[in-house]
């Protein structure tokens, strides 16, 4: 079977915007007319859809971790996912675990983020140190939420991990808060 060709392929960015319904109605109409007539671009759209489904599936199965938003957590709850949440104040600590019936764990690091332009999250544990640079955050939310990989959490032995939020700017960096998680396998 020959590979379909297209003399005027739709730019990838436009395909993505079409997928998310971000195009103006007339642009969307033109796009659909092209897609109906063009096997090559339809195939590219199908590849994008498959990649998107894979991203959702990877998160749903707990294979990847991510910084998320309060609204996203609310949506996960509405979908019926069983979430275990830990809300920790700066300087605070919490005993934590993940059970077989939990779909995900959400860590909510309370923080004063007003005025911060860039925030880094540093992890310190017995294994060493890791730094997540320039994490997304909503200053008004007053917290940073992250969802560790449930699959990785389930494999962890009892241990203590400390997270540190840092505000970073041209003048340097300043700690926003330290948060200690005392993990016990369930």
């Amino acid at each position: 079977m020959s590979t379909p060709i297209c003399i005027a392929p739709i730019p990838f960015a436009a395909l993505v915007e079409y997928w998310f319904g971000e195009l103006a109605p007339n642009e969307e109409e033109r796009m659909e007319e092209h897609l109906l007539a063009c096997a090559k671009c339809s195939e590219r759209l199908r590849d994008l859809a498959e990649l998107g489904a894979g991203i959702g599936s990877a998160f749903r199965s707990g294979a990847v971790w991510a910084v998320i938003s309060p609204a996203f957590v609310q949506q996960l709850k509405q979908e019926g996912l069983r979430l275990r949440e830990y809300r920790v104040a700066p300087g605070g600590s919490v005993n934590c675990t993940i059970s077989a019936t939990d779909d995900a764990v959400v860590s909510r690091l309370q923080a004063s983020l007003e005025g911060a332009t860039r925030v880094d999250l540093v992890l310190l544990d017995e294994q060493g140190q890791g730094r997540l640079a320039d994490i997304p955050f909503e200053p008004a939310a007053g917290e940073v939420l992250f969802c560790p990989s449930a699959a990785s959490l389930r494999k962890l032995p009892a241990h203590t991990a400390m997270f540190r939020l840092l505000a970073v700017d041209e003048a340097g960096e300043r700690p926003i808060g330290d948060y200690t998680f005392i993990h016990t396998p369930s």
Partner: protein, 128 residues
């Protein structure tokens, strides 16, 4: 049906507009299906038990382990924007509001993340 019969009989006025007409009809059907699904889900939320989460759509040979590994390699912002966008089917402006970004910035981050992800998936060193 009436349109098809007229087309067969050669009585269709402005036949060049047929493609747009068919597309319009298809769009209406899809929108109606989406609305119907939203209505059913709303009724279930109000009156019924919450169904188990649906299985993700069938995938054509996507290497899930490799995809997870490639996702883990993305910068935090790119991973967050992609997950919020694709998992929750949210456009860039909604993702932007939730993550303290501008809509334009969210689009740029999403685009950059997708390009990196596709590149990582197409190479042989995607596994961690």
């Amino acid at each position: 049906m009436m349109t098809l019969e007229r087309l067969r009989d050669g009585r269709l006025r402005e036949p060049e507009k047929l493609a747009s007409f068919v597309l319009g009809m298809c769009r209406m059907v899809v929108l109606e299906t989406r609305r119907g699904t939203a209505r059913r889900e709303g009724l279930l939320r109000t009156y019924g038990e919450v169904p188990e989460a649906m299985d993700p759509p069938e995938q054509r040979g996507l290497d899930e382990a490799k995809l997870s590994s490639c996702l883990e390699r993305l910068p935090e912002r790119e991973r967050s924007v992609l997950i919020l966008g694709f998992y929750a089917d949210k456009p860039a402006d909604a993702v932007a509001r939730e993550l303290g970004l501008s809509a334009v910035n969210a689009r740029v981050i999403r685009h950059r993340g997708l390009l990196k992800l596709r590149e990582c998936m197409s190479t042989n060193d995607g596994h961690s």
